[in-house]
């Protein structure tokens, strides 16, 4: 059983390979009457588009999403939404020399072992290209969340070992890295430039925050909201860790420190990250993800070929130095998809 569908009430199935004709998503379960146009999707698509990567100069042409079904006169109809993004400039020839070799840190070797064959062009389905469909679908989910005043935003809190000293949300849009600390962002850019010169790459940490009418969302005991978010976020290619609220820091705290005291005005602290026993408490939901460095680097690396013989590889081309900031809208999209799904699921369990 394959796993290209996410969600149970708001269900998204993505399809498409990096160098095939197109990528896309089908959404089943979107309620009728939601205002939706391609413009509503464009903003998120623009943030993840090629050329917005760490150190890149933006290319002209953004990804264009077409809505092939499920809307009528500017509103969703309750029938499936089909979103398609045709691939352009897919230079599949550029990958010919990689067809007999496994790139370290990539899924080349595992895809071949799992399926017995693979579309080697640009990573095929394992390419970050697949996230374009997630972002498009996430934008639809965001339209639903808007009706409940739920806002989801993600931002960079660490990159290349440099951490933000503050969370000044007004500064997020003031720098290219979506970092709530302009000063830290400037140092991160310096680090990116330095690492680029060495042909290497960088990881970082992204925090995602959701606010609004969240209380009650989450379905114990296996689809708890934190469990669902963990799956959603860990399913992003570059993510190697997910934590909620205090997260790994909670492991070193005393119970009296970690418990969020309840007052008539609400919780005094938010170590829980807005989720208690898998159900949203109404406080802000806070999650963080560890983003690994981009595995494609412009340095010579040892590896093996299809016949398991040792060889080396050096990956040139216009690769990003870090998945940050392009991963930011992808993280938001996955959280939007999760929350929209749980919003609709909660309606089915309520009396």
């Amino acid at each position: 059983m394959a796993g290209n569908t996410f969600g149970k009430a708001f269900r998204v199935t993505t399809w498409g390979e990096s160098h095939g004709p197109a990528v896309g998503a089908v959404i089943d379960g979107c309620p009728p009457g939601i205002p939706l146009s391609t413009d509503d999707i464009k903003r998120d698509m623009d943030r993840r588009r090629p050329g917005k990567g760490a150190g890149e100069s933006p290319r002209k042409e953004p990804d264009k999403v077409e809505i092939l079904s499920g809307t009528f006169e500017g509103k969703t109809t309750g029938t499936p939404l089909a979103l398609v993004i045709y691939n352009k400039d897919a230079e599949s020839k550029a990958y010919t020399h990689l067809q007999n070799i496994f790139r370290p840190g990539h899924g080349d070797i595992t895809y071949l072992k799992k399926y017995g064959l693979r579309d080697h062009r640009g990573g095929g389905r394992a390419s970050a290209r697949e996230t374009a469909a997630r972002v498009a679908a996430g934008a639809v989910a965001r339209q639903i969340l808007g009706l409940e005043n739920i806002i989801v935003s993600a931002y960079t809190i660490a990159l290349g070992g440099i951490e933000t000293a503050k969370r000044q949300f007004s500064e997020i849009l003031a720098n290219r890295l979506y970092c709530p600390d302009n000063e830290a962002a400037a140092r991160m850019e310096e680090r990116i430039a330095e690492v680029r010169r060495h042909g290497d790459s960088l990881g970082g940490i992204v925090e995602i925050r959701a606010t609004g009418s969240l209380v009650g969302l989450g379905e114990p005991v296996f689809d708890k909201l934190d469990a669902a978010l963990a799956q959603a976020l860990m399913s992003i290619g570059a993510v190697k860790g997910v934590e909620i609220g205090a997260g790994f820091a909670a492991a070193g705290m005393l119970g009296s420190e970690n418990n969020d005291i309840i007052t008539p005005e609400g919780f005094e602290t938010n170590n829980a990250g807005g989720i208690l026993a898998g159900i949203a408490s109404g406080d802000d939901i806070i999650a963080r993800v560890a983003v690994k460095p981009i595995p494609s680097i412009n340095k010579e690396q040892k590896t093996v070929d299809l016949e398991n013989k040792p060889t080396t590889i050096k990956i040139g081309g216009r690769h990003d130095i870090s998945a940050i900031p392009r991963i930011i809208p992808v993280c938001e999209a996955m959280v939007c998809l999760t929350l929209a799904d749980h919003l609709l699921r909660q309606r089915a369990i309520a009396i």
Copy 2:
């Protein structure tokens, strides 16, 4: 839509409240012909049983699992397995004084907000008691994994801020905390004793390792093996973070450091934690979870009652100081359930 079922091919549905008549699990999708008796389940149940908690003296009576269907002459038949564990000694009266109050760090408040009513006795469905059903089901999954020589083991690598200095697996069974470092375990026990005196509680970190014929498991792009493990582990009540392989440390590494070099003999390192592009590479799978301190503490805490009026609470009784070590078999169970599910799922996708 509720969420009490885990898995798609090997499907487990758990049921039962802390102070109801019983807890249990139904497993649908277990292949026929798997040897299974209550003895196969008993070992794991014994490790999580009440009285094995941090600082507790073991009680006499272990949880007894009954198999009510799905086996015949010592083997599974391919029909649903019903596992039941009757609750004993459930002192529901002990919770009467808590029925109008929200315990900090517990799901009391979110359950009420979600469902409009709740079974307040001992946490009801949100109680750790529910994990008994997970462990029972996990033991069945372990029988299947055994056929593929897949072994899953979990162990403590941090507790109360004390970290293990080594992973000497032979020492895991040599101390009560399933810690691969006897010396660290001794200091953890001291820390437990100290914190007990103050009526407080402790968190820690558990690492889970799976070895064996894992290659190819995992279903991109949403049910990647790491995504499925993240959901599985984060669905355990006390868990606030999950990481795979290098995890959050990867965020601070260079690409050239984090990439696992491939050689004819295999991977040189295992920063990936055995999973590339969401598919098991064949290397050991390594996951870590952050376990928060037990929220029930023997200290006075501020909170509110059902009418949102301020009050205080001090939770007495025989509570564990830490979810470790009783959470160890629960973590193993969730990983066993995940791997068994993906083992069967892989059969349906293979040509």
Copy 3:
């Protein structure tokens, strides 16, 4: 992937074999606050209990359902409901002589071929005993439907070739066969007595009708309400055909005859059986099922044994002559489960 779960929002998983310790059902997705006691389940259980079969004298002891989780103070809590019915008087020895032989018309041969082994005692999972769990779960669904004034009732319209001449619903409870035509019921009883003397068995047709606030239920294009009902009803062991509204008769009609004219007061006719384009129109939902004759007959039949050698079999014991009337509450249960599921599903799709 096994298939012992029915429904997507109101999800029922049944388990248990004819001659194992118990049969049961777990319901996940029942909304909280629904009044529920064992008495609410008893009425339906009594109608399908052993001894109510065609030609049988009722035995004393009814099936007793225990609710092991999911209720608190007489109401559902939103957590999973576990229903258990312990098996009594299961004379498994009576089946020892059948363990090496395939009964014609039974699943003995297909269960063995599918699973490689089987629990031969009394049909194991393929026994009509399994429907006890369906009826228990259906009674819970009925409680939910009651809140929407939805009433589901089934009745016999043909048995042993004798058809009802009318649908006088007041007569349904006036005869043992739940037949809306007392005169036809009397002739059916004569036919049963006659066939019993010859050691043979009879089939028939059951009609199921649902009334109330049904409009809008059904999820195109694969989970249309008629499609869901067809699956639900065909999953009952003895059912070999399902039709909605005019059903097979529609195949011989003109469009101008079959179309239900719409007037300001509603539809003039109900050839659609209350379902248009897979969605309930608000008119009564009408379905009919073909019930095959009981395959266990007290006549010698040719068959083969486990080694594919020819042999004969004559099945004695206290078998019913027809699945009617005991199948009546089972049909109702499956329709109740379908409607409750779609009622909750509709909430998740509505804006």
Copy 4:
């Protein structure tokens, strides 16, 4: 929760409206290595294409299916297959006069009641146009079935009250109605011509037969093979009844007549339609569906408008007289999808 996905292991999600830009299907769970090209899909598409309807002269331009993902070098890769069929000549203006009126026998009224709004152009999602996506997906399923020598074929056994006197399969392709009785087919054509003159329409009965390595397919107790087929076939718009093997005729038979005697050479008869206890016995699977007359007729009919005021409607245009024969490949497609799904599901349950 919407219902536009069919299957659990071989999962098809269809999308698209009659007069939107396109219709399509995404298939998740297709094993890798299956040979697949658009030519493999074309044959089935051609049989259902506009202009092949009862009484129509074929138009030139067939529906063209594009494969946008999931294949590489002529084989499936194990990743999702996206199939798109762009709509041509969709004369949405032709439906403007219908936007305020409910066509009898159509889903106009129920779609509006369910969703609160609807795409009225040509029936939107409820149009038979949607079945183009089913047929395309079914052709992929057929490729998988071919590997197991499973062949699925459907044919007309009744139309407009005229029944076939024989099942001479060699004659199926010798007439336009896919009827295994050329003489009956000729009379059916006469009946079609006659009814056309009166502006009316006709229903009929289609039989579907599957042969090959079917034994063991089917997942008790809710996804039994007959239950799955019933859902699959009843989900086709025009279908109002489904029966397996002897079907409704079994209701009037004695047990001794209906039981299929087992001999060392196999079953003597096939009243079971190849399915015992929900599992394929290995004998041919036989299902029949009742097809209602096309509701769009060229006769004046009474109905109401959006404000529930009485009015009349007469539907002109190039409508088919019967859903037969264009429904034939749709029936085959749904059976192919069901069998492919169960073929893959069986692999996950086998030891």
